[in-house]
């Protein structure tokens, strides 16, 4: 009964979305305000039904209703309740429902927070989102229904993939999807602007907070995914350049470009065409990511659901959405793009160059990800592209990006001069260079390659920090009052940028330190043995068998010590899950601000002495990688709460400027 309610709710949501995707759009072009007004109600109604559907699915998982195929395939009576809930979005069908649910949530949010927008704009934005949602709902109902029944009803479910039975995996998909789907708002704003021909600073101001919020979610989503891979896969790596990871990185890169490009469009009224293209590309890459993950055109350690038929449906959908919007772009963009002028040395130039670099970086990731597919399709053989390619092309693109980041944050709009820039940034440059040269030697590195790597990393990190500080002192120089007042007078959008840029520096320090100083050992240990890594000593004390709710585990006890002083015990596990018979590695990590001590059990060695292959790592500053991402997210959140959005929202609501529709009417009159 409950699954049928869920199914029915999905159908109702689909019907509402058909209405939302058609009438408001027609209404907006013909000026029928009743049709336009419909969009808010349908968005809210559909969100209600989508929540109901998701609720029904979660309920089916909680009560172990194995008559639902999706539940039977992804849950088990022994699975703890929290993972049963998470299993609702762990399967292919469930994850698509989650996707659509979030799309509904964003539409609903737009319908609530768009009171100050012209009616026509709201109608178009929601109309476009309605079309996208309709497509996905039909995809779900026709090819991946989460409520499909199975008969005869199995007595026991197959259990959730053990890899996904982890706290990180409860949060990772929703966050990632919030990000992916959130870019649909920026996309819808861009399409609405192309349809309506209105593309100005106000437009940019409306789309900015939505875009930044989506970007924040995506950042957190990627961060959790990376952290999960780090401790769950047991290899101590934090990024594998796996197709699925790349699929989330690509919209992030273009989304980052979009945020900056929107800033220019809002402040200076230029880059309009470019901004619109980025908005379309960001969401297109989110859709593409879903396609790559869900269709099985690529192999990946994450490959979950593979079904060419579904792939065909998503591909057709992609062709309609992306092809349609790019065609619209090609024909309508010339009408909106009247660019302002700026000189070669200016903040605009720096931001434009950064945009191009980010886009190129995304292009290289896309190329590397799809290269195996291209070769296969052209019958040139099967290959895989690994981390060496990505590292070789990605790092050289990041270095100029970081250099321009410092300049872009300090340079004046429209026209800056080199002597002026030098005057403001000379201390930053000097400090960064000194740090880059001195630090590797102070830290005791002498081999040329590792010195070069560390120097590059430190130069980039110090350049970001010092140039951000230079920009800060520049801003407060002319503010009256005490230092505290000077700080207070800065708008939150400035603090947002500052925090996010520092986050990038923190991230770079983390990556550099891990690359330069990590130590790992892969050893065979018997109880009583010790191994030392990076100044820490790990003593293998023994093994015990432990029984978990749906697995049996072999748990090792290790004593971690430094200079003979015991710090703490670590308990890595090797688990065998009942339903899959799949062995899983649970690494044990002693985590701290200055790095992690990491131990994971490999395989037992059959020598009758209880010995195991054991991997131990010392990863200095690895936590800074994620810390940097958290700072970037915080920066984004600070920027969203900037006073000007709140004030302008109120002002627009109080005294609406002439909406284009009225303006048109006036013109005609």
């Amino acid at each position: 009964m409950i699954p049928e309610i869920g199914q029915f709710a999905l159908v109702l949501a689909a019907l509402l979305m058909i209405v939302q995707g058609t009438l408001p759009l027609v209404g907006a072009s013909k000026g029928i305000s009743a049709w336009m007004a419909l969009s808010r109600r349908t968005a809210q109604g559909a969100f209600f039904f989508l929540s109901l559907a998701l609720g029904c699915l979660i309920y089916s998982f909680i009560v172990n209703d194995f008559s639902v195929l999706n539940v039977a395939n992804n849950s088990n009576t022994k699975l703890p309740v929290i993972y049963r809930i998470a299993a609702s979005w762990g399967s292919h069908e469930g994850s698509i429902l989650m996707w659509v649910f979030m799309l509904g949530m964003w539409s609903c949010a737009v319908s609530i927070f768009s009171k100050h927008l012209p009616e026509e704009m709201t109608a178009r934005v929601l109309g476009v989102m309605g079309l996208v949602t309709t497509g996905l709902l039909f995809f779900m109902l026709l090819t991946s229904n989460p409520f499909d029944r199975i008969f005869p009803v199995p007595v026991e479910g197959r259990d959730l993939n053990p890899l996904l039975q982890d706290p990180g995996m409860i949060l990772h998909p929703p966050m990632l999807y919030m990000g992916y789907v959130g870019f649909s708002v920026a996309f819808a704003f861009a399409i609405a602007a192309l349809l309506g021909g209105r593309l100005d600073a106000t437009w940019a101001r409306w789309s900015r907070p939505w875009t930044t919020l989506a970007w924040c979610f995506l950042t957190v989503g990627i961060l959790i995914g990376s952290w999960w891979a780090y401790y769950e896969l047991g290899w101590g790596g934090w990024w594998f350049w796996d197709p699925v990871e790349n699929a989330s990185l690509m919209p992030w890169l273009v989304g980052t470009a979009l945020i900056h490009s929107l800033a220019v469009t809002e402040k200076r009224g230029t880059f309009k065409v470019w901004t619109v293209l980025l908005a379309i590309c960001t969401f297109s890459l989110s859709l593409l990511g879903t396609f790559l993950v869900r269709s099985g055109v690529l192999t990946s350690v994450h490959a979950f659901a593979v079904d060419p038929q579904r792939g065909m449906f998503i591909l057709a959908f992609l062709a309609l959405v992306i092809g349609g919007s790019l065609a619209l772009f090609a024909f309508r963009a010339p009408k909106v793009g009247t660019a302002g002028t700026f000189k070669f040395v200016s903040r605009e130039s720096a931001l434009l160059a950064n945009n191009v670099l980010l886009t190129v970086a995304c292009g290289t990731v896309l190329l590397g990800t799809l290269y195996p597919l291209f070769l296969d399709a052209l019958k040139l053989g099967k290959i895989s592209v690994g981390p060496p390619y990505f590292e070789a092309v990605f790092v050289p693109l990041m270095a100029p990006l970081v250099f321009l980041m410092g300049i872009g944050a300090v340079a004046r709009w429209k026209e800056a001069t080199l002597p002026d820039l030098w005057a403001r940034l000379r201390w930053a440059a000097v400090i960064s260079l000194v740090a880059a040269v001195a630090l590797p030697f102070i830290l005791g590195r002498t081999s040329p390659t590792s010195v070069a790597l560390l120097a590059l990393g430190f130069a980039m990190a110090f350049w970001i920090i010092t140039s951000a500080l230079a920009g800060f002192f520049d801003r407060v120089k002319h503010v009256e009052g005490s230092f505290g007042e000077k700080l207070k007078r800065q708008p939150r959008s400035f603090w947002g940028m500052f925090t996010a840029h520092i986050g990038v520096a923190v991230f770079i320090i983390g990556v550099t330190a891990v690359k330069g100083f990590e130590a790992e050992r892969d050893v065979r240990m018997m109880p009583g043995d010790s191994v030392s890594v990076g100044g820490y000593s790990f003593r293998f004390e023994g093994l015990e068998e432990r029984r978990g709710p749906n697995y049996n585990a072999t748990r090792g006890t290790f004593d971690l010590s430094k200079d003979g002083k015991s710090i703490r015990k670590l308990y890595p596990e090797k688990r065998i899950y009942f339903a899959h018979g799949m062995p899983m590695t649970e690494a044990a990590i002693d985590s701290g601000i200055f790095g992690d001590r990491y131990v994971s059990l490999g395989e037992p060695i059959n020598d009758g002495q209880q010995s195991w292959s054991v991997r131990v790592y010392h990863k200095p500053f690895v936590t800074w990688i994620w810390g940097g991402c958290i700072l970037m997210t915080l920066g984004g959140l600070l920027a969203i709460t900037d006073r000007r959005y709140r004030v302008s929202a109120r002002r627009d609501a109080a005294a609406p400027v002439l909406a284009p529709l009225e303006a048109v009417k006036l013109e005609k009159a």
Binding site: L315, L326, F329, P334, D376
Partner: protein, 178 residues
């Protein structure tokens, strides 16, 4: 005019990509040629599921073409391919040997009672040793083995109707004539 053409670039790029995806969907990135194809099937000597005191060995099937199907009662996908096997077994074309992989014999027998038994014989591989020899990494998997005991074809995942009709049955016919 020049500018208009520039604006068309993203669209063109996308359609080139989409073209590759259409082709890509038809390909299977997992279709890595199995190293076992063309090699002699690994030998085994395992207890019969229905009569555990009896040992069945791979040598028993020398001189005939046979299918070796890896299954388990806990495997949901096996349920999907099972009706195909049951239907095919009625034709008595070839021997179908089941490898009851990492399963409890009682569960396996109950499962066969419930869904039908297409197997000429099923053997017990409780600890999955033989599965390792055959490079099994997902259940179900099916191997087609010829009269000389050479593996000719491997199906990873459930046998689909299409694979049965277009690949497996024609191959069996051909191999039987050799």
């Amino acid at each position: 005019m020049k500018k208009k053409l520039l604006l068309l670039i993203p669209l063109v790029v996308f359609f080139v990509l989409a073209g590759f995806f259409v082709v890509g969907l038809g390909l299977n990135p997992r279709e890595v040629p199995s190293p076992l194809i063309g090699k002699p099937a690994p030998t085994f000597a395992l207890p019969d599921l229905n009569e555990p005191e009896k040992t069945v060995t791979s040598k028993d099937f020398l001189g005939q073409v046979w299918l070796f199907n890896v299954w388990a009662s806990w495997c949901v996908s096996c349920r999907a391919e099972h009706p195909l096997l049951v239907a095919y077994a009625k034709t008595n074309e070839v021997a179908i040997v089941g490898l009851n992989y990492k399963d409890k014999p009682a569960d396996g027998k109950a499962w066969l009672r419930q869904y039908g038994d297409p197997y000429t014989v099923s053997v017990i591989d409780a600890d999955g040793r033989v599965g390792i020899d055959y490079g099994v990494y997902g259940v179900p998997e099916t191997f087609l083995i010829d009269k000389q005991g050479i593996i000719r074809y491997k199906q990873i995942g459930p046998i689909t109707e299409e694979a049965m009709r277009k690949t497996i049955i024609p191959m069996i016919k051909e191999l039987k004539q050799q």
